[in-house]
């Protein structure tokens, strides 16, 4: 029992009003699905059922795509400055209803309210603000007027940053003149459904934004629909490969943002205390449900013990619990399936010979939880050093020279992100030059900005989201 315990400080959920049953958002309004199948979306911190969600079938997807096609006819005639204004208005509404969205996100997905309030929602608004400003500047963005939108884009997003992933997809797509059919993740549809209400409120022309909820079958229907001119997918590498395969001979645009097993390299001349913070943030932020998580700690051997001591001490101050408690640092694991996967991989790691440290803390009796964990004494051949765990589990490897660090960091099929910690500027640049990763954080981690392009090398996917380069994901050069 602590000498000074923080009392509970619960963010009230009375600000949200969740319907018991939801349909789809097609042609500018909410509609009854053709599909008779529903699934339940559950709060992973309490296991309470929040709502019934439609599992969109072939006909639902078809309606949505057709609506988007019609919408494209209107949207392509809409002046760029008008497109900009719709997006600015959406940004403003998101800002106004930020608290409501944040609470809903935490309830549906399990992430701490501190994160959804201070990180997710501000980034969501910023993304709409940023891309609104490109809508009327496409002609100067890449020095050519020859770039055109694809038409109807099918977008499939994951459950780790539901509303933010929606913003990353929808804002640039609409700014560049495309129309959208979006399928949110099975376990986290609620903020997307609330977003659809905003589209109605700003009077976005019918068919410009369409939302079809469902599971993998729904996503499959969308990916295979002949009316789609481009697919944008964020999710697991295995599903990404399936999608790329399914595209086959169709001449459509494709961008994939897949998994990662990022190396966080700590050199012996790093500012150690801040490196500890960065490493903790890198893997425990959002319960480790982050594609670019720094899940492999690469420590220079001569600072191993000192660093691990500091790290374990710091991990012990992490607070696991009710996502709606403002003092919670680590929320719930998104689903039972994910929890089982994490548990099984950790057990495998222990059996392989890794030494496991887990923080001591009480876990709530209901819900899906995992204690922040750290593996030391790990060899690069163990599966926990290779496979993406997607949970609050950090694996440590050691290196002796900068060349070795780079070698180990690149020794993976993934290439999404990496971290480099050293106070020596030239070493940062030397290392960054040699890392096969799309995003490199030096002396920091998990920094995102709508203006900063994000995306991977190798099996972490292709295409970039954000920034001037992010526009290229939604524009094609007329041939």
């Amino acid at each position: 029992m602590d000498k000074w315990e923080y009392s509970e400080s619960i963010e009230s959920d009375s600000i949200v009003s969740i319907k018991s049953k939801y349909g789809h958002f097609i042609d500018g309004k909410f509609s009854t699905p053709n599909s008779k199948k529903y699934l339940k979306t559950v709060s992973p911190s309490t296991e309470e059922v929040l709502a019934s969600i439609s599992v969109g079938n072939k006909n639902d997807v078809d309606s949505a795509v057709n609506s988007a096609k019609e919408g494209f006819k209107i949207w392509s005639k809409t002046a760029p400055s008008e497109r900009a204004k719709y997006l600015y208005k959406l940004a403003r509404l998101i800002q106004e209803r930020s608290r409501e969205f944040a609470v809903l996100e935490s309830m549906d997905g399990g992430k701490p309210i501190k994160e959804s309030r201070d990180f997710d929602l501000p980034q969501v608004a910023a993304n709409f603000f940023y891309f609104a400003g490109w809508a009327d500047k496409l002609d100067i963005s890449w020095g050519t007027k020859e770039m055109k939108p694809y038409g109807v884009v099918g977008q499939i997003i994951p459950w780790n940053f539901p509303l933010l992933m929606l913003a990353w997809k929808v804002a640039p797509a609409l700014a560049t003149g495309n129309t959208v059919v979006l399928k949110p993740a099975e376990t986290t549809p609620l903020t997307a459904l609330l977003f659809a209400e905003l589209c109605e409120e700003v009077g976005l022309p019918k068919g410009v934004f369409n939302l079809v909820t469902g599971d993998g079958t729904t996503g499959s229907e969308l990916v295979n629909h002949e009316g789609i001119s481009k697919i944008a997918f964020t999710g697991s590498t295995s599903v990404g490969k399936y999608i790329q395969n399914a595209v086959g001979e169709r001449d459509i645009g494709l961008t994939l943002e897949l998994g990662g097993k990022a190396a966080n390299i700590v050199y012996n001349d790093a500012a150690l205390d801040q490196a500890v913070e960065g490493v903790v943030n890198g893997i425990f932020f959002n319960q480790g449900h982050v594609c670019c998580a720094g899940s492999r700690l690469l420590l220079q051997e001569d600072i191993h013990d000192e660093f691990i001591n500091k790290l374990e001490k710091r991990m012990q101050t992490l607070r696991v619990g009710n996502p709606l408690d403002k003092n919670t640092d680590i929320g719930a694991i998104n689903s039972k399936e994910q929890l089982d996967k994490i548990t099984s991989l950790v057990n495998e790691g222990v059996n392989d010979g890794g030494e496991l440290f887990q923080i001591e803390c009480e876990l709530p009796s209901e819900g899906y939880w995992y204690r922040p964990s750290l593996f030391t004494n790990v060899q690069p051949s163990y599966n926990i050093a290779r496979e993406e765990i997607f949970g609050p589990v950090l694996t440590t490897l050691t290196f002796r020279t900068p060349e070795e660090a780079v070698d180990i960091a690149n020794n993976t099929e993934y290439g999404l992100s990496a971290g480099v910690w050293t106070e020596k500027g030239s070493k940062i640049l030397w290392t960054a030059d040699r890392l096969d990763a799309g995003v490199i954080w030096a002396n920091t981690f998990n920094k995102f900005d709508p203006s900063s392009p994000f995306g991977g090398y190798k099996e972490s996917g292709f295409g970039r989201e954000g920034g001037r380069h992010g526009l290229l994901s939604y524009l094609k050069v007329r041939s």
Partner: protein
Amino acid sequence: MTEIKKTYKNYVDGKYVRSESGKTYTVELKSESYELPLTSKKDLRDAVTSSKKGFDSWNKLSQYNRTQIIYRLSEMLEGNRDSYVELLVDHGLTKSAANKDIDNAINTIVWYAGLADKWEQLTGNLNPVDGEFFNISHQEPLGVVFTLNSDEVSIDKLIRSFLPSLSIGCSVISFSEKNAVLSLKLAEDVNNSDLPSGSLNLLSGDFTKVFDDISRHVEINALASYKKLNKESLKTINENASTSVKRIFHLPSEDGLSSILPFIETKTVWHPKGR
């Protein structure tokens, strides 16, 4: 009831002020005439002091924040559309031309608002130098800019004379003459947009009375005239400017990306890459 007539004043450092000289000049419109401040050299010097502070405050804000502030100006204009239309009509425009002008002005503001956090992505870059070096050309705003508005009766044109430099981070002293009522009215909405004091100062007067002094003022980093100047003025301005190598722009482009290029200072940084 007796109608109360508005007094238009200069907008400097977030406040509405008369000329310290007490002098005014008359602008005659169709239904009304206004006495506007005849800005003196001292007024301008005070404005420059304000603009210098304003430059720091404007640049402390993130570019994202500046985008939102400029966008807010468009919201203000939209909200006060009717009063602008009335004023433009009083200047001699037809009602439909006035509305078109406000439409254009709003679209112009929205365009520059969205540029405020992107312009460096379009103008700066990494340079592929030979050797183990990282080399980046970072773009910075010039500093304090004095701009002269043309005489055209147009809110859009007025905005195009100060917003390019303002949107990339310069602080601006915007000077209008015959059509200054438009500028001083706009000051009200500028004030409501959360622009930091001193980042944009709006003044009225007679350029011929002040250009000699202003082109000599070392703390103004650039002078941009969106009004065609005669040869004698241009000669004097350039001669004065040469004493401190001030940047002078006569009729700069008002279109797209080229409209901001004059107001950028490029800073190139090198760093070795090595273990």
